[in-house]
Amino acid sequence: MLLTPRLVFGPDALSARRGDGRYRVERLASSNQTDLFVGPLLDARGLVKAFKGVRAVDAIDLRVNTGERVGLLGPNGAGKTTTLLMLLGAITPDAGEIEILGHRLPQQRSAAMGIVGFAAGYLRLPDRLKVSEALRLFAGLYGVDDERAAVADGLERFGIAHLGDKLCEQLSSGQRTLVGITKAILHRPRLLVLDEPTASLDPDVALRVRDRLLDVCAAEGTTLLVTSHDMREVTMLCDRVVFLAGGRIVADGAPTDIAESFGHDDLEGVFLQLAGRALSEADEL
């Protein structure tokens, strides 16, 4: 099939003009057409969030381009989840701006969330619904055309078709995580945001999930933003890593480059170094 390039104008083009020169033309493999979007898929500038006077997120700039697979890492309390929740519009930043494919939060939250999928290891699902019902509900909220087909396809993709008739409240935490990820990709999102996606999974299931996620990203050009404490997982999933500590970005780059710049063989060493530093700073306070 001959693919026709299409340039995206409107708010997207405007956001590109406001850029700092790092923006580039992106090829979106997720579309029937070869879309040419000018600008980053996710553009967060100067994000600040404090709770009771303590800065959880301190002037974070995060740009994620289409097709990137980005790992957001850092010790407990580094500000990862707060950052993700701000990017999803669930928490309002004290300062800063967020745009997703040119849709500015919070004014255009609905349009922005239409192209974002979200799952977290700690998230529950509607208790009294069967898995297939719950997924059809989300497919409806995301405006998926053929809800049944999308749900069947999603369940099949993660090897959990047998869970379709089970009540959500009867799922184990691992099964719930798999259903949550299935929910997050039902509408073929351009940006998939995952918070600790494999935290409660057995190693073999976690491996399967990582493989499927890589398949999804490769097949549909999905951009990935994921937090995890599993450095091996991040190395496997992500081509870029952003390290947070004390609410600030302390490193941003390819996993191997970051490990090298901190003088370690792998990300595990970097993580332990930053976590140790965060602990000693907390002790000093």
Binding site: K49, F51, T82, L85, L88, G89, A90, I91, T92, D94, P106, R109, S110, A111, M113, G114, V116, F118, A120, Y122, L123, R124, L125, P126, D127, R128, L129, E133, L137, F138, G140, L141, Y142, G143, L167, K183
Partner: protein, 263 residues
């Protein structure tokens, strides 16, 4: 506004109701028990005094219209509680394209459906057990119902605001607040019979004017439009204030990161 997303919200809550038979108590068992309780009381009072023959009609019409208020309020409040404090599904919903207005429209529509079922239960049981025909009261019921419907939204919005701000601990108000109104609004009796100290509060409640108009039409008098107009203005002012409060609390909810309470 997306009609499809509104329908999806309705479908979500109907599926939960279908799978949880006890959720039907609100629209079947409680209305039936209310009719039996107030109808029996009215019958007893009527049998004791020849001048109290109309008490059955006052009590049953009162409880039927009280359910308009109750069903709307409880549908909004429990619809939100289902998502927030019971299922802890709020973060999933907040990260979809559904807007606040669409979600409220969905649970409001569900409230109307539940109201229809509960009114059917009330009307049929009042007729079967006490030969009371609510329809005989006439078209005056329509404006009275409309005022109470809007009052129900107002209380529902207010309770949602409280839950957003104070979390699960505010749930108790969802169940109890309408009984405060029942006591102060003169659902079954003129407010001259409630304690004098409480009458100033009763007079400013829009629900008081709606029930005063109801008693007039049940007595066969013309609809007191003055009560309907005052009640309507009061109801819309309360609904506007409550909606403003709920939106303000949603803003606080997002600013203070309260979403973590529900996930």
């Amino acid at each position: 506004m997306s009609w499809r997303r509104i329908r999806t919200v309705v479908r979500r809550h109907l599926s939960v109701m279908w799978r949880s038979p006890h959720r039907f108590f609100d629209v079947s068992v409680w209305p039936l028990l209310d009719v039996l309780l107030w109808g029996t009381l009215g019958t007893f009072v009527a049998s004791e005094s020849a001048s109290s023959k109309a008490s059955v009609a006052y009590l049953l019409a009162g409880i039927c219209m009280f359910h308009v208020l109750y069903q709307m309020q409880i549908a909004l409040a429990t619809g939100f509680m289902e998502e927030s404090t019971w299922s802890r599904n709020l973060l999933n919903v907040l990260t979809t394209p559904v807007t606040e207005a669409e979600y409220l429209a969905g649970i409001g529509l569900l409230g109307l459906l539940k109201l229809c079922v509960s009114l059917l239960t009330l009307v049929v049981s009042a007729f079967v057990f006490f030969r009371f025909n609510l329809g005989s009261v006439g078209w005056g019921l329509v404006p009275v119902s409309a005022v109470l419907l809007v009052c129900g939204w107002a209380i529902g919005f207010f309770v949602i605001g409280l839950i957003l701000r104070y979390g699960a601990s505010a749930e108790v108000l969802a169940w109890g607040i309408q009984f405060v109104l029942m006591a102060l609004s003169g659902v079954f009796n003129p407010i001259t019979s409630i304690p004098a100290a409480l009458r100033p509060i009763a007079r400013v409640l829009p629900t008081t004017h709606a029930f005063a108009a109801l008693r007039a039409v049940v007595a066969g008098d013309p609809l007191p439009w003055h009560d309907i107009v005052v009640g309507s203005i009061g109801a819309f002012v309360c609904a506007g204030a409550a909606a403003f409060y709920a939106l303000r609390m949603l803003k606080v909810f997002r600013e203070r990161g309260f979403i973590t309470r529900f996930s």
